[in-house]
Symmetry: C2
Subunit: 451 residues, 2 copies
C-alpha cells in the first residue's frame, strides 16, 4: 500500500524490529495483517524500524479465513492471545466487543506495550480507565479508527486545534443510516425498503439495530465529545434517538423546506457543560453536511478561531479502517523509537517531479466548426491521430456571440470531452484542431478533474 515511500537510504545501524501482536482477524484485521506483510519495507521506512507481525490472536485458529494460508501464513494464528500480548511492543486490537478486548488491552498496557484499537464500544464504555492506565504506563493508546473509520479526526482535534476552542461537533458517523436516509431522499423509499436495500448491498447487517437505533453513532458521539472537550463521556450519558421514526413523508417535507434529514452525533459545549446526543435532524441544504451522500461519513467542527471545519471520508470497511489503524501503528512505533519525531527527513529519498506536459488529464474543448457533413469525422480523426480518445461529443447550433449581431448561420458548436491522455498529446490535439480548415474557433479548453 505505501508504495509512495521511496526505498529508505540504508543507515549504518538498523534499529531492531518492533514486535506487533494483532488481536482479531476479521475484515479489518485481515487488511492490517496483509499490509504489515506485503508493505513491510515501506512501513519500516516510515516507522523508523521494521514492524514485525509476530502473531494474530483468533478464537478458533482452525476456521478457514480469507488470505490465511496464502498471503497470511497459517502459523501466525494463535488462540493464546495473552502470551501473544506478553511478547509484543505494539498491540493492535481489532477484535471488537468488551471482553476479552478490555482485559488484553489492559494486559498490554501494564506490560509497557503501546496499543492501537478500533474498538468504539470499548472506548465509549471503558475509555477513561484505559487512558489513565496508558498514561500511568507512559505508552500510547491510539484510536483513530474507532471514531470515523478512515477519516483523520483524532489528530486534527487534539493537536491541530490545541490552540483553539471547539464549540460544537456535528458528525455523520454511521454510514448505514446515512445511506438509508439518502435512499429515502433520492428515491422516495420508505425506511423499511431502504434498510432492505442497504442489507442487500452489504451496507446494513442482518440485524440493523445497532445502526438504525443509533447505538453505533452514540458510541462515536461519546468518543468525539471526550476528544473535543477533554471530558469523560460514557455511552449512557449520550441521549440517543435512532432513525426508526423517520418517514418518507418527513424526508419529502425536509426537501420542500430546504433541508436534508441526517442522523447526527452532536457534542457541544454550553456555558453549563457538555451536551452529547444522537438524533435525526434537519440540516439546511447549503450546509456542507447536507452534501454527504451514501455511506460516507463526515465530522463538522466549529471552533472559535478556525471557524467551521469539515472532515469527510469513509467511516467503515476493512481497508479504510485498516488505513487508520496503520497510521496509528506507525506513529506509535515512532514514539517508541525517537520520542514522536519520526524518521529524519534525510532518511528518505525523493521522487522525480515530472514536467508539465507529462501530466495525465482530460480535456473538455468547445469549438465552432463549419456546419456541413463530414466535419465531425475530420475532428474525430485529429483526436485519433494524436492517440486521444473521445468520451462524449455534443453538437448544437452555434449561439452567435452575445450583442455582436454576428451571423452564426453555417456554423455548429461542438463540445468534446476526451478520455484521460497526456497533457502533451492533448495540447498537440488542440493545436491541430486549431489548424483544421472547417474549425472556425476554439472557444474554450478546460481540463476535467475528479472523475
Amino acid at each position: 500500500m505505501p508504495a509512495q515511500t521511496p526505498a529508505p537510504v540504508p543507515s549504518a545501524a538498523a534499529p531492531p524490529a518492533l514486535r506487533v501482536a494483532l488481536l482479531g482477524c476479521g475484515v479489518v484485521g485481515t487488511q492490517v495483517a496483509r499490509a504489515l506483510l506485503e508493505h513491510a519495507d515501506d512501513l519500516a521506512a516510515r516507522a523508523g524500524a521494521p514492524l514485525e507481525l509476530v502473531g494474530i490472536a483468533v478464537r478458533d485458529a482452525s476456521r478457514p479465513r480469507d488470505g490465511v494460508g496464502t498471503v497470511i501464513p497459517r502459523e501466525l494464528l494463535t488462540e493464546d492471545a495473552a502470551s501473544l500480548v506478553d511478547g509484543a511492543d505494539l498491540v493492535v486490537e481489532v477484535m471488537g466487543g468488551i471482553e476479552p478486548a478490555r482485559t488484553l488491552i489492559r494486559r498490554a498496557i501494564d506490560a509497557g506495550a503501546s496499543v492501537v484499537t478500533a474498538n468504539k464500544a470499548l472506548l465509549a464504555e471503558q475509555g477513561p480507565s484505559l487512558f489513565e492506565a496508558a498514561d500511568a504506563a507512559g505508552v500510547d493508546l491510539s484510536f483513530e479508527a474507532a471514531v470515523a473509520g478512515a477519516i483523520p479526526i483524532v489528530r486534527p482535534v487534539r493537536e491541530s486545534l490545541a490552540g483553539d476552542h471547539v464549540r460544537r461537533v456535528l458528525g455523520i458517523v454511521n454510514g448505514t443510516t446515512n445511506y438509508v436516509l439518502d435512499q429515502m431522499s433520492t428515491h422516495g423509499l420508505d425506511l423499511e425498503d431502504a434498510v432492505k436495500e442497504a442489507q442487500a448491498l452489504g451496507y446494513a447487517e442482518a440485524d440493523p439495530t445497532a445502526d438504525v437505533e443509533g447505538f453505533d453513532a452514540a458510541a462515536k458521539a461519546a468518543i468525539l465529545a471526550s476528544l473535543a472537550f477533554h471530558t469523560r463521556v460514557s455511552l449512557d450519558q449520550v441521549a440517543r434517538e435512532g432513525i426508526t421514526s423517520v418517514t418518507a413523508d418527513d424526508v419529502a417535507w425536509a426537501q420542500r423546506t430546504g433541508h436534508a434529514v441526517k442522523l447526527l452525533a452532536i457534542a457541544e459545549q454550553t456555558g453549563e457543560g457538555v451536551s452529547v446526543r444522537v438524533h435525526p435532524a434537519l440540516v439546511p441544504l447549503d450546509h456542507p453536511l447536507a452534501a454527504v451522500r451514501g455511506a460516507f461519513n463526515a465530522v463538522f467542527v466549529e471552533a472559535d478561531g478556525a471557524g467551521p471545519l469539515m472532515f469527510y471520508g469513509q467511516g467503515a470497511g476493512g481497508r479504510p479502517t485498516a488505513s487508520a489503524v496503520l497510521g496509528d501503528l506507525v506513529s506509535a512505533a515512532r514514539d517508541r523509537l525517537v520520542g514522536g519525531k519520526g524518521p529524519h527527513e534525510s532518511a528518505y529519498a525523493s521522487l522525480p517531479v515530472l514536467p508539465a506536459d507529462a501530466a495525465v488529464t482530460r480535456y473538455q474543448v468547445r469549438l465552432l466548426v463549419a456546419d456541413r457533413p463530414g466535419v465531425l469525422a475530420q475532428v474525430a480523426g485529429v483526436l485519433a491521430d494524436h492517440g486521444v480518445s473521445i468520451d462524449t461529443v455534443r453538437q448544437t447550433a452555434a449561439e452567435p456571440p452575445a450583442g455582436t449581431g454576428t451571423d452564426s448561420a453555417g456554423t455548429a458548436s461542438l463540445l468534446l470531452t476526451t478520455h484521460a491522455a497526456r497533457e502533451a498529446s492533448l495540447a498537440a490535439t488542440v493545436a491541430a484542431l486549431d489548424g483544421l480548415e472547417p474549425v472556425r474557433e476554439i472557444t474554450s479548453v478546460l481540463r476535467v478533474e475528479g472523475v
Copy 2:
C-alpha cells in the same frame, strides 16, 4: 479562545515558561499575540508550561496598530528581530516574504529554537534547506498554517496516513479565486466584475495577480506535493495556469454539462514520478469539491487504503490562520517538554456532561389542525407559554394520508419551525400541542441543526 479547557489542576512543580518570539504583527500576528496574552492559562494547560510572549518583531515599532497599546502592550514591540530570536525557545514567523524571514528562521533553528511558520512563499522556495537544518538541529519546523489556513492537513497527511499510500491530492487552496468562480457561477458575472466584487468585500487584494494568476495556489501545491509524496517540489516545478482565461460562458457551459469550474492545485503520483500543477478545471457536480462555495478551501486526498478523504474549512484570514499557528505552537511546546506526548490526561479536569433535556436545539413540527379562525393563535399561544419563539410558520391545505381515503376537509396542515430553545421546553411544548383541542395530529417532530 481555548475556554473549553478547564482550569489546570495545580501540579507540585510547575515547569518554567517557554519564551515565545513573534515575528510580524499583521492580521495573523495580532491574533496570535492576543491569544497568547488573553488565553495564557488555557494555553499553558494544553502545552504543559506557560507560553510567555517575550516580544514582537516589527519593521516600524512606532506605526499605529490595532490592539497595540490596548490588548498588546506597546513595549512588546521591537525592531531588533535578531536579538528577539536569540532569546527564544519558540519562534513564530508570520511576517511573510522571503527575507528577512528566511535568515531569522535559520538563526532560530541554529540556536535550537523550534519554529512555527505560516509563510508559504518561503517554504515553497526554501523548504528543503530549512527542513534539513531543523532536522540537523533536532527542532520542530511546523507549517500547518502555510498550506490551507485553518484546515488541518499536515498532521492528517503526514501522520494519520503514514500507513497508507496517497495517490492524488486535489485542493481548492485559494479562497479569492474560489469566491470569484462561485460568483461567476451563481450570478452569471464575468471575471472582471466578480474580481471587483471580491475586492470590494476584501476577499481580493487591490492587485489580485497573486491569486488570479495562481501563484498563491502554486506555492501551496508545492508544499502539498512535498507533504503527500515526501518529495522536494519547488515553486518553479509547478505548472501554473490562473483563472484569467475563464469566461462567464465557460462557467455557464460547465453547469450545462454537470460541472463546476474550480481552480485546483493538483499533486499526483504516476508510475514515473510526481505531477504538480495548478489550473482551472471542470469538476463533476457530484464530487465533494464542487460543493465548496465562496471563499472556503478544501483539500481532497485519494489514498489506496483510506479511499477518498476531504478536509474543508477557511484557508485564510487572521483568526483561522492564527488557530493553525497556535495548534503548531502548543505541539512544539509539548515536544520540547515531554517528547511530544503532551500533558498527562490527569492534568485536566473534566466538564460536566449535561442531561438530555438541557440541550439547546430547534424543532420543526408538522401538525394537522382544525381549519378554522383562531387556531394559529392558539397554537402560537402554547409556544409562547413555554417560552419558545417561532421562526417560521407555513400553513397548507392538509393532504389526506395516502390510500386511506380519509376526508381531510376541515383540517389544515401547519409546519412550525422554532428558534433555539431548551429541549425540555420544546418537548413540553409538543406535549401541550398534542393536548390542544383543535390539534388533530402531531405528524412529525424533527430537530434542526447546523443553522
